[in-house]
C-alpha cells in the first residue's frame, strides 16, 4: 500500500471492502437453496443484520464520505475510533443474529463439521476483533510515551479484556449465568410455593451470587467471600426449620433436595468465579508480556509489521502463560472441585425434577436406570455362561476326536479359554 496518499488509499480500500462484502452477501444469498426461504431463514436474517441494516455498514458509508480533517493525526485517530466501532458493530451483529441464536444458525449448515467450523471461526473472529479493539489504545500509548506496567494498568479496561478472555475460553456469559440462576430460582420457588413454604429469600440469594461473581472478577475476593458465606447461611436458615417441620413424605424429600441443590449451587458459583478470576489475571499477565515483547521489538527497530503478526505474538504468549497456570496444583484442584459441584447440581436437579413428575404414570429415569443395570448384568452373565458352554463343547469334541467348535476358512482354531462368538448367530457380512 502506498504511503503518499494515505487517506485516499484508505477510502478506496473501504469502498472496495464494502463492495466486496455486498458481493459476498449476494453470493451467499444465491449460493445455496437454503437461502431461498429468506423470511424464515435465520442465516439470511444474520446476513441482513450483518450487511444491510446495521451500524457497521452505515458507519462504513459515513467514514468513506468523511471530510478531510485539518490535523491528519487527529483524523487518523478519529478514523481508528470509527474502525473500532465498525468492528464492534460487526461483532455485535454476530452476537445478536435475530431472530434465532447461534445454535439455530448452526443447524442450517449441511453437516456438523461445517457447523462446528462455523462456530469455531466465530470464536476466532470474535477474539481477533476484540483484541484489535483492546490493542489500539495500547499501541497508541506505546507510540506516545514509554510503555510500562503503570501505563498498561492505566489504559487497560479489565472488563473489556475479560470479555475477550471469556470468548476465548467459551465461558458462560454473565447473561447466560443469570438465565441459569433464574431457572434454578424458579424451580426452587415453584417448589416452595407448591409446598406452601414460600421458598423465602431464595430469589434474593440467587441474585446475590451474580453480584458476588462480578466482585470476584473485579478482584474483590474478600467482599465476594462474605456474600457466599451469607448465601450458604441463608440457605441453611431457610430450609433447616422447614425440614424439621415436615417430618416425612415427598415434601420433606423435596425440601432436602432443594437444600442440597442450593448448597452445591453456592459452592459452584464461588468456584466458577475463582476460575474466571484466574483466567482473567493470567490473561492480563500474558497481555502485558505480549506488549512488553512488542515494545522490545519496537526499540530494536523491528516492530510487528502487521496486526496479524501482533495477533500471533499474543496467541503464543497466552499459550505459554496459560500452560503454566494449568499445570499448577491450585488450578487442577479447583477444576476438579468445580466438576464435582456441577455434577452435584445436576444430580439434585434431576432428582427434584423426577420427584415433581413422580405422579405421572411414566417410568422415571431412575427406574429406567435400574432396568439398564439389570440388562447389563444379565448380558454379562449370559455371555459368561455361553463361553463356559462353548469351552465344554470343545473339550467334548476333543475327547471324541472331532473338530473343535471354531473353524473358519478351512483352518482349525483352538480356543483355550472360550470360543469365538458363533458366526451363525452373530456374524453379519455386508459391503460398507
Amino acid at each position: 500500500m502506498a504511503n503518499n496518499n494515505v487517506f485516499a488509499d484508505m477510502f478506496t480500500m473501504q469502498m472496495n471492502m464494502m463492495k466486496n462484502m455486498t458481493n459476498a452477501a449476494n453470493s451467499m444469498a444465491n449460493a445455496a437453496p437454503m437461502f431461498n426461504a429468506m423470511a424464515t431463514n435465520p442465516f439470511m436474517s444474520f446476513m441482513n443484520a450483518a450487511f444491510t441494516n446495521n451500524p457497521f455498514m452505515n458507519a462504513m458509508n459515513t467514514s468513506a464520505n468523511a471530510p478531510a480533517a485539518e490535523n491528519p493525526m487527529n483524523q487518523m485517530f478519529s478514523l481508528f475510533d470509527t474502525w473500532k466501532n465498525l468492528y464492534n458493530s460487526w461483532a455485535s451483529a454476530m452476537g445478536k443474529m435475530p431472530p434465532m441464536p447461534i445454535e439455530g444458525m448452526l443447524n442450517m449448515f449441511p453437516n456438523t463439521a461445517a457447523s462446528d467450523a462455523f462456530n469455531q471461526m466465530t470464536t476466532m473472529a470474535s477474539s481477533y476483533f476484540k483484541l484489535f479493539e483492546f490493542w489500539t489504545p495500547l499501541m497508541q500509548a506505546i507510540q506516545e510515551r514509554e510503555f510500562n506496567e503503570e501505563t498498561f494498568r492505566a489504559i487497560v479496561d479489565p472488563e473489556q479484556y475479560n470479555r475477550l478472555l471469556n470468548s476465548m475460553f467459551n465461558y458462560v456469559s454473565p447473561e447466560m449465568m443469570q438465565q441459569f440462576t433464574n431457572q434454578l430460582t424458579n424451580l426452587v420457588k415453584t417448589y416452595g410455593e407448591s409446598l406452601q413454604h414460600g421458598g423465602a429469600d431464595v430469589s434474593e440469594m440467587m441474585q446475590q451470587s451474580m453480584h458476588a461473581m462480578s466482585l470476584i472478577q473485579a478482584g474483590k475476593t474478600d467482599e465476594a467471600t462474605k456474600i457466599y458465606v451469607d448465601m450458604a447461611d441463608k440457605a441453611q436458615k431457610t430450609f433447616t426449620p422447614l425440614v424439621r417441620m415436615v417430618f416425612i413424605g415427598k415434601d420433606r424429600t423435596a425440601l432436602e433436595l432443594m437444600q442440597e441443590l442450593l448448597k452445591h449451587y453456592v459452592v459452584f458459583s464461588a468456584q466458577y468465579s475463582r476460575l474466571q478470576q484466574y483466567t482473567s489475571s493470567v490473561g492480563q499477565k500474558a497481555m502485558y508480556e505480549a506488549m512488553r515483547q512488542v515494545t522490545e521489538m519496537n526499540k530494536s527497530g523491528n516492530p510487528p509489521k502487521s496486526f496479524d503478526e501482533f495477533f500471533k505474538i499474543w496467541v503464543r504468549t497466552n499459550e505459554q502463560t496459560f500452560d503454566e497456570l494449568f499445570k499448577t496444583e491450585e488450578y487442577g484442584r479447583l477444576q476438579g472441585e468445580m466438576q464435582t459441584s456441577s455434577m452435584k447440581i445436576r444430580e439434585y436437579s434431576d432428582k427434584l425434577m423426577e420427584l415433581a413428575m413422580s405422579d405421572i404414570p411414566v417410568a422415571t429415569r431412575s427406574e429406567l436406570d435400574e432396568a439398564y443395570k439389570s440388562l447389563q448384568t444379565l448380558k454379562r452373565q449370559v455371555r459368561t455362561l455361553e463361553r463356559k458352554l462353548d469351552e465344554q463343547s470343545e473339550v467334548i469334541a476333543e475327547l471324541r476326536g472331532g473338530q473343535v467348535n471354531g473353524k473358519a476358512n478351512g483352518a482349525s482354531v483352538s480356543t483355550a479359554s472360550g470360543a469365538a462368538p458363533k458366526a451363525t448367530k452373530t456374524v453379519k457380512r455386508k459391503e460398507v
Binding site: A117, F118, Y128, S306, T377, K430
Partner: protein, 371 residues
C-alpha cells in the same frame, strides 16, 4: 505492507510519516479488512459444503461381527497378503477409529494394506444411557475378547497381532496380560501406561478429578470430553482457525482441515461405569503399572505379557506424553521388545503428511519380522 523503521522526526509532525515507524495505520486496516473478507468467504464456503466433500473412512471394509452396537470390520485387501498374522486395531473409546483412515492420501490403514497386512478394526459405537453400566471389565472380557475371537475365527488362526491406539492401547495391554495365549504380537501406539506423569496437562488435571459424581449421573458426554481436550491448549483453537481463514480459498486444504475437525468433534459418550473405573484405577491409583488392577476378579500382571512388543510414541504428544508411554517396555515380561519415536503430536502422527511415509512402513517391517 509498508512499514518504515525510522524514528519519527519533529519536523514531520502532522504528516503521515510521523507515526509510521510504529503503526502503519493503513496496513492495520488492511489486515482487518482482509480478515473480515476471509471470514465472510469462509462462512460462505462452509454453508455450501456437502457431506461428500469431507468424507472420511473411505477404504472399503466389511462387517464381520456386531454386538451391542460394537462393530468389527475387516478391510478389503486388494493386494497380496504377505504377513499372515492378522492385525486387529483396537482404537480408543474416545473419538472414532476413522482417524486411521481419514482420507485416501492420509490413511494409516491403507498404508498397512499396501504393505501386505490383513487388517481388522473395532468401531466401539456410540454408547447411550442404556449402556451406562458397561464396565472396563465388560470391554475387556466380553467385547474385546469376542472381537479377538471373531478375528481368529474369520482369519483361521490361533493368534493375532493386537494393535492398540491411545486408550485402546491401554485396553490392549490389559487384555494381552489376561489372554496372552491369543496374542502373537502386541503393538501399542501413543498409549498411556504410566499415569503418574505430570508432563501432560490432562494427567495433571486428572489427579484432582473425582469420577464418582460424574458417573453417578450417567454417561460422560462427548462434548464434556472434548472440552477437556480443547482446554489443554486453549489458544491452539484460535490460532488454527486464524490459519484456517487463510486457507479458505484452497478447497483441498480446507477440506483436509475440516476432515480433521469432523473427527475431533465426533466424540462418543463414555459409559459412566467404565469412566469411573478407568479414572479411579488408572489415573488416580496408577494400578496398571503397579500390577494391582483387577479385571473380572483377576489381577492384571504386566509380566504375563511375554510375546514381542512394539511401542510407538509421538515426540510432541501433549495429550499422551512420551513419559506415560515409554515405561511399558520396562514393565512387560517380553524379551523381544522395541520402541520407536516419531515426530508429531497425538493425532498428527497418523495424519501428517510427514509421517505417512514413515509410520506404517516402520510398523509393517516390524510385523513382517515377527510373523
Amino acid at each position: 505492507m509498508a512499514t518504515t523503521q525510522q524514528e519519527p522526526k519533529a519536523e514531520q509532525a502532522g504528516s503521515n510519516a510521523a507515526f509510521l515507524p510504529m503503526l502503519d495505520m493503513v496496513g492495520v486496516m488492511n489486515d482487518m479488512t482482509s480478515m473480515t473478507m476471509k471470514i465472510m468467504q469462509g462462512y460462505r464456503n462452509l454453508a455450501t459444503l456437502k457431506d461428500e466433500d469431507i468424507a472420511v473412512g473411505s477404504t472399503p471394509r466389511e462387517l464381520v461381527f456386531e454386538q451391542d452396537g460394537i462393530k468389527l470390520y475387516r478391510y478389503v485387501q486388494e493386494n497380496t497378503i504377505t504377513c499372515k498374522t492378522p492385525v486387529l486395531v483396537c482404537y480408543a473409546l474416545v473419538n472414532k477409529e476413522y482417524l486411521l483412515d481419514l482420507q485416501p492420501d492420509r490413511s494409516y490403514v491403507k498404508n498397512l494394506l499396501q504393505n501386505g497386512h490383513d487388517v481388522y478394526i473395532i468401531d466401539w459405537g456410540y454408547p447411550t444411557r442404556a449402556n451406562r453400566y458397561r464396565t472396563v471389565d465388560d470391554y475387556i472380557d466380553i467385547y474385546l475378547n469376542d472381537c479377538v475371537d471373531a478375528v481368529r475365527r474369520d482369519a483361521g488362526v490361533d493368534k493375532i497381532t493386537l494393535m492398540g491406539v491411545c486408550q485402546g492401547g491401554t485396553l490392549s495391554i490389559i487384555y494381552t496380560a489376561l489372554y496372552p495365549h491369543k496374542i502373537k504380537n502386541l503393538v501399542t501406539l501413543i498409549t498411556p501406561v504410566d499415569f503418574s506423569t505430570n508432563d501432560g496437562t490432562l494427567f495433571a488435571w486428572a489427579k484432582y478429578m473425582d469420577p464418582n459424581p460424574v458417573a453417578d449421573v450417567g454417561n460422560v458426554s462427548g462434548d464434556t470430553m472434548n472440552n477437556g481436550f480443547l482446554m489443554v491448549k486453549p489458544m491452539q483453537r484460535i490460532d488454527k482457525f486464524h490459519a484456517f481463514a487463510n486457507m479458505m480459498d484452497d478447497k483441498a486444504k480446507m477440506t483436509n482441515f475440516l476432515r480433521m475437525e469432523r473427527w475431533i468433534f465426533d466424540s462418543p459418550s463414555q459409559a459412566g461405569e467404565c469412566y469411573r473405573k478407568f479414572i479411579s484405577e488408572l489415573y488416580l491409583k496408577n494400578s496398571l503399572v503397579k500390577n494391582e488392577l483387577e479385571i473380572g476378579g483377576r489381577t492384571v500382571n504386566l509380566q504375563d505379557i511375554t510375546m514381542p512388543v512394539l511401542t510407538v510414541y509421538a515426540k510432541q504428544d501433549h495429550i499422551v506424553p512420551p513419559s506415560s508411554t515409554k515405561p511399558l517396555n520396562d514393565l512387560v515380561g517380553s524379551k523381544d521388545k522395541e520402541m520407536i519415536e516419531f515426530p508429531g503430536g497425538h493425532a498428527g502422527v497418523f495424519v501428517s503428511s510427514q509421517t505417512q511415509k514413515m509410520l506404517a512402513p516402520a510398523v509393517s517391517k516390524w510385523l513382517h519380522n515377527h510373523d
